[in-house]
C-alpha cells in the first residue's frame, strides 16, 4: 500500500478529533448536515405519526370523544404540515445532502455554509411550528390553509404560525435548491457527464428545479395571507372584492409541483436500489431520467385539478383534466422500466429491495386512483372525501415513505458502517405493508360511501364505523412496525454486523469509498468513464453481456504524491446564528405589534450572522 498523500493525511487528522455538540452546530460537512437532516426528520416523523394516531383514535368509532373538534382540526393540520414540510422534504434533503456530492465524485456541495444555513432554518422552522401547540394552539386551517378561512382572525395566532413557519421552511428549501443546482452544474468529477449522473442525482436535480420555481409563488401567497391577517390588506376579502380563488391558484401552483417534490427523491432511490438487487443495470436509463424531467415540467401544468369543484368553468376543467391524465404517461414509463429492470435479473429480496418493490406496488395503486380524480365528474363526488385521503397516502406513504425507508436500509451501512438486521428489517417491511393497506385501503370505500375528510366526528347510521375501525387498527400496526425499525436501529448501533465498503455489490461511486466515508469523501477525485462507473471497475462484460469480475477492481483508489491538496470548508458558527435570528424574527411577527421588538432583535441577529459570515476569513476557499 502506498502511503497517503500528505494533504489527505492532514485533512483526515484535522477533522478527526472533532466531536461534541459544538462541532455539530458549526459543521459545514455535507455528510454531517445530511445526518442532522435525517435524524431530525425521523423525530418529526414520530411527532407527525403520533398526531396521525390521535386522528385515528378519534375516528375509530362514531361520535368519537378522544379529541375536541378544535383539537382535531389542529391535529390534521399539523399532521400534514409536519409530514410534508418537516418529514418528507427534509428526509429527501438528508439523502441529497449526504449522497449528492459523493455520487458526483465531489468533496462537498457548492456552498457548504449555505447548506448549514438551510438546515438550521429548517430545524428552527420546525421548532417554531411545533411550539405553537404550547402557546395558544397550533394552526387549524388545513395544510393548504384556504382563504378566507385562514385569514379569518378567530384564533389570533394560529394561522400566523402556519404562514410564517411554512414561509421560512420554504426559504430553507429554496436555498438548498440553489445549492444543489449549483453543485450539479459545477462540482461533478471529471468525466461525470450529465447523462452519467446516477438517477438519484438526476431526480434530486429535478426536485431542486421544482423547488426553485414553485416556492416563490407560495412565498407571495403566504405573505398575502399574513398581511391580510395582520395589516388589514384585502387580498382574500370577498366583501371588498378580493377573491379567495386567487389563494387556491397560488397554493396549488406550488402545491402540485410540491407533490412531485415529495415523490421524485423516492423514485430516484428506487432507481438506485432495483439495479443493485437485480444485478442488472437500470432498464431504459435515459427514459427514466427523461420521464423524471417530463414529470417535473408537466407538474407545473396541472394545479387546477385540486379545484375541480371550485367553479372554474368547464373549459378550464377540461383542460386540466387532460393535462392531469397525461402525467400518467411519463410515470408509467418509469414503472414499466423498473419492472423491466427486475425482469431477467437475479433478484435478491433484501430489505432495501423489499421496500423498493413495495414502493412500486403501492405507488401504482395511488397513481391509478389519481387518474380517477382527473375524471372531473367523478372528482365532484371524490373531492374532499376519504377517497382523496386514500389516494394521497398511497402515493405519499406507499410511495415516498416506502421509498425513503428503502433508501435508509440501503445506505445505512454506508453511513454508519454497520448493516441493519435483515430479520427485523423484513418484519418491519411486512408489518408496515400490512398495516399500511389496512389503514388506507378502507379509506377508498369510506370516501366513495360519502365520508368527508377533515371531519372530527361522524354520526351513526352512515355506515362508516366498520372501515374506520379497521383503519385505526391498521395505523396501530404501522406504529408497531416503526417501533421495530427503531429497535433495529438501536440494536445495530450496539451489535450490528460490520458492513465493509461495498456490502451490496453496488454500482455507484459511494460504494468505492470506506463506510462511513472520510470527511473529504475521496482520497483521489475519481475520473469517471461510464455510467455506473464503480460497477465497471469491478466487472467487465463477456460476449453475451454477462458480468465477469475484474480481480481487485473494487479496491479503493489510493492517492499518489501528485494529487492536488484537499480543501475542506472550515466550520462556521454564523449559519446557526443567522437561522436563530430568523426564528426570533418570525416569532416576533406572530405577535405584532408588541412582538415587533423581538422581530427587530431577530433582524439584527440575522444581519450579524450574515455580516460575520461574509467577513469570515477565507482561510479555505469557499467552494
Amino acid at each position: 500500500m502506498a502511503t497517503l498523500n500528505p494533504a489527505v493525511e492532514s485533512a483526515t487528522a484535522s477533522h478527526h478529533g472533532r466531536k461534541g455538540v459544538w462541532s455539530w452546530m458549526t459543521t459545514t460537512d455535507h455528510k454531517r448536515i445530511g445526518l442532522l437532516y435525517g435524524v431530525s426528520s425521523l423525530l418529526f416523523f414520530l411527532v407527525g405519526g403520533v398526531e396521525a394516531l390521535l386522528i385515528r383514535l378519534q375516528l375509530a368509532a362514531a361520535d368519537g370523544t378522544v379529541l375536541s373538534a378544535d383539537a382535531y382540526n389542529q391535529m390534521f393540520t399539523m399532521h400534514a404540515t409536519t409530514m410534508v414540510f418537516l418529514v418528507i422534504m427534509p428526509a429527501a434533503a438528508a439523502f441529497t445532502n449526504y449522497l449528492l456530492p459523493i455520487l458526483l465524485g465531489a468533496r462537498d456541495v457548492a456552498f457548504p455554509r449555505l447548506n448549514a444555513l438551510s438546515y438550521w432554518i429548517y430545524i428552527f422552522g420546525g421548532l417554531f411550528l411545533t411550539i405553537s401547540f404550547f402557546v395558544g394552539g397550533a394552526p387549524d386551517g388545513g395544510w393548504f390553509g384556504y382563504a378566507p378561512l385562514s385569514t379569518q382572525v378567530t384564533e389570533i395566532v394560529r394561522m400566523d404560525y402556519w404562514a410564517l413557519g411554512v414561509q421560512i421552511l420554504g426559504l430553507a428549501s429554496l436555498l438548498s435548491a440553489i445549492n444543489f443546482i449549483t453543485t450539479v452544474f459545477t462540482m461533478r468529477a471529471p468525466g461525470m457527464t450529465l447523462m452519467r449522473m446516477p438517477v438519484f442525482a438526476w431526480m434530486a436535480t429535478v426536485v431542486a428545479f421544482l423547488l426553485l420555481f414553485s416556492l416563490p409563488i407560495i412565498a407571495v401567497g403566504l405573505f398575502e395571507v399574513f398581511l391580510d391577517r395582520n395589516l388589514g390588506t384585502l387580498f382574500f376579502d370577498a366583501a371588498a372584492g378580493g377573491t379567495p380563488l386567487l389563494w387556491q391558484h397560488l397554493f396549488w401552483l406550488f402545491g402540485h409541483p410540491e407533490v412531485y417534490i415529495l415523490i421524485l427523491p423516492a423514485m430516484g432511490i428506487v432507481s438506485e436500489v432495483l439495479p443493485v438487487f437485480s444485478r442488472k443495470p437500470l432498464f431504459g436509463r435515459s427514459f427514466v431520467i427523461f420521464s423524471g424531467i417530463a414529470i417535473g415540467f408537466m407538474g407545473f401544468g396541472v394545479w387546477a385539478h385540486h379545484m375541480f369543484v371550485a367553479g372554474l368553468g368547464p373549459v378550464a376543467e377540461a383542460t386540466f383534466a387532460l393535462t392531469t391524465m397525461l402525467i400518467a404517461v411519463p410515470t408509467g414509463v418509469k414503472i414499466f422500466n423498473w419492472i423491466g429492470t427486475v425482469w431477467g435479473g437475479s433478484v435478491r429480496l433484501a430489505t432495501p429491495m423489499l421496500f423498493s418493490l413495495g414502493f412500486i406496488a403501492m405507488f401504482v395503486i395511488g397513481g391509478l386512483s389519481g387518474v380517477t380524480h382527473s375524471i372531473v365528474p367523478s372528482d365532484t363526488q371524490q373531492h374532499d372525501t376519504y377517497y382523496i385521503v386514500a389516494h394521497f397516502h398511497y402515493v405519499l406513504f406507499g410511495g415516498a415513505v416506502f421509498g425513503l425507508f428503502g433508501g435508509i436500509y440501503y445506505w445505512w451501512p454506508k453511513i454508519t458502517g454497520k448493516l441493519l438486521n435483515e430479520g427485523l428489517g423484513k418484519l418491519h417491511f411486512w408489518l408496515m405493508l400490512i398495516g399500511f393497506n389496512l389503514t388506507f385501503a378502507p379509506m377508498h370505500i369510506l370516501g366513495l360511501r360519502g365520508m368527508p375528510r377533515r371531519t372530527y366526528r361522524y354520526p351513526k347510521g352512515l355506515g362508516f364505523e366498520f372501515w374506520n375501525f379497521i383503519a385505526t387498527v391498521g395505523s396501530l400496526t404501522i406504529a408497531v412496525s416503526i417501533l421495530i425499525f427503531l429497535i433495529n436501529a438501536w440494536r445495530t448501533k450496539a451489535r450490528g454486523r460490520v458492513a465493509g465498503n461495498d456490502p451490496w455489490d453496488g454500482r455507484t461511486l459511494e460504494w468505492s469509498i470506506s463506510s462511513p466515508p472520510p470527511e473529504h469523501n475521496f482520497d483521489v477525485v475519481p475520473v469517471v468513464h461510464a455510467e455506473d462507473d464503480f460497477w465497471h471497475r469491478k466487472y467487465r462484460e463477456d460476449e453475451e453481456g454477462r458480468p465477469v469480475p475484474i480481480p481487485g477492481g473494487g479496491d479503493p483508489l489510493v492517492a499518489g504524491p501528485d494529487d492536488p491538496p484537499i480543501h475542506l470548508p472550515s466550520p462556521s458558527f454564523y449559519p446557526i446564528l443567522a437561522a436563530f435570528g430568523m426564528f426570533l424574527t418570525v416569532l416576533g411577527l406572530v405577535y405584532v405589534p408588541l412582538g415587533l421588538v423581538l422581530a427587530g432583535v431577530g433582524v439584527v441577529t440575522v444581519v450579524w450572522g450574515l455580516f460575520g459570515w461574509s467577513m469570515e476569513p477565507l482561510t479555505r476557499e469557499e467552494h
Binding site: A110, F111, L174, T182, F185, F213, I217, T233, L234, F235
Partner: protein
C-alpha cells in the same frame, strides 16, 4: 447543456462560475416571485371599491422620472463592473457609490409617492387594488434597498485593504442582482403604471 468544461479544473470549481450559476438560478426564481405579485395586481387593478382608481392617483411624469433614475443606475452599475474588470478599483468605487446614490433617489421617490397616495386616500386597506399596489411596489422597493446595502457593503469591503481575487466577481454578482431589480421595474412601470392610465 454545455455547462462544464472539465479540463480547466479537476474537482476544483472555478469560483466565479459557481456563484454566478447560483445567482442566475436565484434570479430565475425571482421571476416567479415578482410574476406572482404582478399577477395579483393585474387581477385587482380594477377592484378599487370606494377608493381612488389608478387613473385618479398615478402621476406619470413623476414615476417616469424615478423610472429613469433607476434605468440610469443600471448604466452606472455596468460601468462599475467594467472598471472592476480592469481592476480599476478607484473608478469602480465611484460608480458603485453613484449606483447606490441613484438607488436611494429612487427609494425616496417611492417614499414620496407613497405618502401622497396615502394623503389622497389610498392605503393597503382601502381596496384590493391598494393592497396589491403597495405590496408589489414595496417588495420591489425592498429589493432596491437590499441592493443599496449590498452596493455599499461591496464598496466598503473594497476599502478594507487587500483586494482579493473575488472582488470582481462580487461586483458582477451585485450587478446582476441590481440589473434584475431594474428590469422588474421596467415591467412594473409599464404594466402597473402606463397600462392603467
Amino acid at each position: 447543456m454545455a455547462v462544464l468544461d472539465h479540463t480547466e479544473h479537476a474537482g476544483h470549481p472555478d469560483l466565479g462560475n459557481v456563484r454566478k450559476i447560483a445567482m442566475w438560478a436565484f434570479l430565475g426564481s425571482e421571476c416567479l416571485f415578482f410574476g406572482t405579485l404582478i399577477s395579483t395586481f393585474l387581477l385587482y387593478h380594477n377592484t378599487t371599491g370606494d377608493g381612488p382608481t389608478a387613473k385618479e392617483i398615478f402621476s406619470i411624469p413623476f414615476t417616469s422620472v424615478s423610472s429613469f433614475v433607476l434605468l440610469m443606475s443600471s448604466l452606472t452599475m455596468v460601468l462599475a463592473h467594467h472598471a472592476a474588470g480592469r481592476k480599476d478599483w478607484r473608478q469602480m468605487r465611484v460608480w458603485l457609490l453613484a449606483t447606490a446614490g441613484l438607488g436611494l433617489v429612487f427609494l425616496s421617490g417611492q417614499a414620496y409617492e407613497f405618502t401622497t397616495f396615502v394623503h389622497e386616500g389610498l392605503t393597503v386597506t382601502t381596496s384590493p387594488f391598494g393592497s396589491a399596489f403597495f405590496v408589489l411596489t414595496s417588495f420591489h422597493g425592498g429589493h432596491v434597498a437590499i441592493g443599496v446595502l449590498m452596493l455599499l457593503a461591496t464598496t466598503f469591503m473594497s476599502f478594507g485593504g487587500k483586494l482579493h481575487e473575488g472582488q470582481g466577481m462580487n461586483v458582477e454578482l451585485v450587478g446582476l442582482y441590481w440589473h434584475f431589480v431594474d428590469i422588474v421595474w421596467i415591467v412594473i412601470f409599464t404594466v402597473v403604471y402606463l397600462l392603467q392610465v
